[in-house]
Subunit: 385 residues, 2 copies
Amino acid sequence: MSVTAAAGFRAAGVVAGLKPSGTPDVALVVNDGPQHTAAAVFTSNRCKANPVLWSERTIADGTLSAVVLNSGGANCYNGPDGFQTTHASAELVAELTGGQAFDVAVCSTGLIGQPLDRPILEKGIRAAHAELSADGGPAAATAIMTTDTVAKQAVSGGDGWVVGGMAKGAGMLAPALATMLVVITTDAVADAATLDTALRAATRSTFDRLDTDGCMSTNDTVALLASGASGVTPGEAELTAAVTAVCADLAEQLWHDAEGAHHDIAIEVTGAASEDDAVEVARAVARSNLFKAAVFGNDPNWGRVLAAVGTTKAAFEPEHIDISMNGVKVCVAGGTGVGAPSDGVDLTGRDVHVLVELNAGPATATVLTSDLTHDYVHENSAYST
Amino acid sequence: MSVTAAAGFRAAGVVAGLKPSGTPDVALVVNDGPQHTAAAVFTSNRCKANPVLWSERTIADGTLSAVVLNSGGANCYNGPDGFQTTHASAELVAELTGGQAFDVAVCSTGLIGQPLDRPILEKGIRAAHAELSADGGPAAATAIMTTDTVAKQAVSGGDGWVVGGMAKGAGMLAPALATMLVVITTDAVADAATLDTALRAATRSTFDRLDTDGCMSTNDTVALLASGASGVTPGEAELTAAVTAVCADLAEQLWHDAEGAHHDIAIEVTGAASEDDAVEVARAVARSNLFKAAVFGNDPNWGRVLAAVGTTKAAFEPEHIDISMNGVKVCVAGGTGVGAPSDGVDLTGRDVHVLVELNAGPATATVLTSDLTHDYVHENSAYST
């Protein structure tokens, strides 16, 4: 399972002491080869954390031999020392594994603006290196958790080759939030360009459509490393499908574990003139605090869906829109038709499906979001205090 | 005070019975002239309520003799009968006042998708007409309240002429939320084009920069009516200044009464390359749920400010940004300088001032917002149930 499901990878997760809670906080994933091709995508936030600034450079040549990750500090906007800490941690991993610092990606998650204790981090990296093992994936997945309540892991693959991954966070990638960190490994043989194509296609339809609270993180990173240890070279489509399956599985797990959520809300938009239109409309609904608060209250307030749709530039005519909530078509032809009574909608369960039929074209998209709850407010008002 | 402060106007507010609470719910404002010039701006939401669709047409010729308003129903997306109800209410006002239906603007506020009871509304309009008086402004201001806890009224003016206004709601105009309705009256002599210029300039720097929860209403309307009863023709700049003063005053009152807010947060952006950049950055911060929840928790989490700034397209270098909270500069040069300790920031009071210095140009703007609180979630999860 996880990042050690594929041959050629070892991982570990340890308690370094970065988190006051004393839970695991440093993870290491090492690619033992024979190949070390890789791809990565990062937050589109223009204010980027030090590990993102570092990792963007390391991935430029399509090679990674290891990824080191820490929770307990975002290492972001904490002065020049912060970037040096990122650099030093990559150097240490390279020294321990016999590689190059520029082949080591670094990921951090936690509070912005706080110093990241370099000696503690380095102690953790040494401990993680000592514990590296071919079944260390679950420990690594546990060490990157912050407000996550469960470790997130997924596996897919093809005939003779495997794709596995781990994730932490509760959000979307571009824009993105809550510091989502994802490491995916495969023992397939693939060059860096193929990995890049597969990863971008996979994230576009998975993590990019997860939008739990509309906020974009400074630290989001999704890395894909290939060891080639299986000796199998899948076709690009086959590889993309497997990577997409792992990303979709991890995205679902992030969605179900979103901070404070009581409902998992899927906003499906059909009949859009383009896929971009469908995503724009679904995202607008997913970002309406009024709609999200209504769902928390089990209130099928479709007027707030319609009001959100109206804020977009998507092609549609207001009087052609149909809206269904959990299978009940409550709004027909933008209210000009006779919709079913709202009180026939049952929102008491965890799963909420909102279908917005624009009737303006053939395209479709689904964005996954959460309701706006007292628990969300509580978690995010008390997080750093 | 209010909409009857200016000569030439009468107003009333009555209980029609549209609201289950039994509080006043129909208001009428009548311009007795001698002139009937007017201007209006509306929500930029593409899904518009019936009264907005109607009023957009009535204002096309720059003439209004009356505005009729109701709370207790948005009259939005409730079938073809809804538009007929809007039309019928304008016809009734015209009949009662001896004017033309196309000179009567209509405003509604309440739930989307619900029928608006025409007989009850018409009964209310007749009652309001019977109670019209030159000191009926406060009654009218009370009758348009929904979740407002206080009536909002303001007065300004010049030598021998007056501008007065009333407002309900808790939001911004374009995009806009929570159904903000504003009626402003003046006894100045002014043609429709001058009124339009003054109103657009005023709303652009006031209501357009109030963004309490990022949601845009289907019903927002701001109307400005001139009676000319003072006989004074102020200069355009003078008139614009007075209308802006009334709008700013009303916007501040809306801000202080935003649903569920515990903190009134002013996001000031300076050093922007353009005013549009300044507004974009301030609005991005004002829409960050993570930032707003942190303020609720009295937590000076400036990392969430920075993360929001980074989502914009504004011109800036991340390492040039300074952030101050309530006068304490907690982030210097994007964290590369030494900021003051966050624990020196006191957020326990109602007023919070966030200063984002982009150091990228001369432009500035301030957006007013609220924190994200348990009360906000409660009010908006329980509103229609």
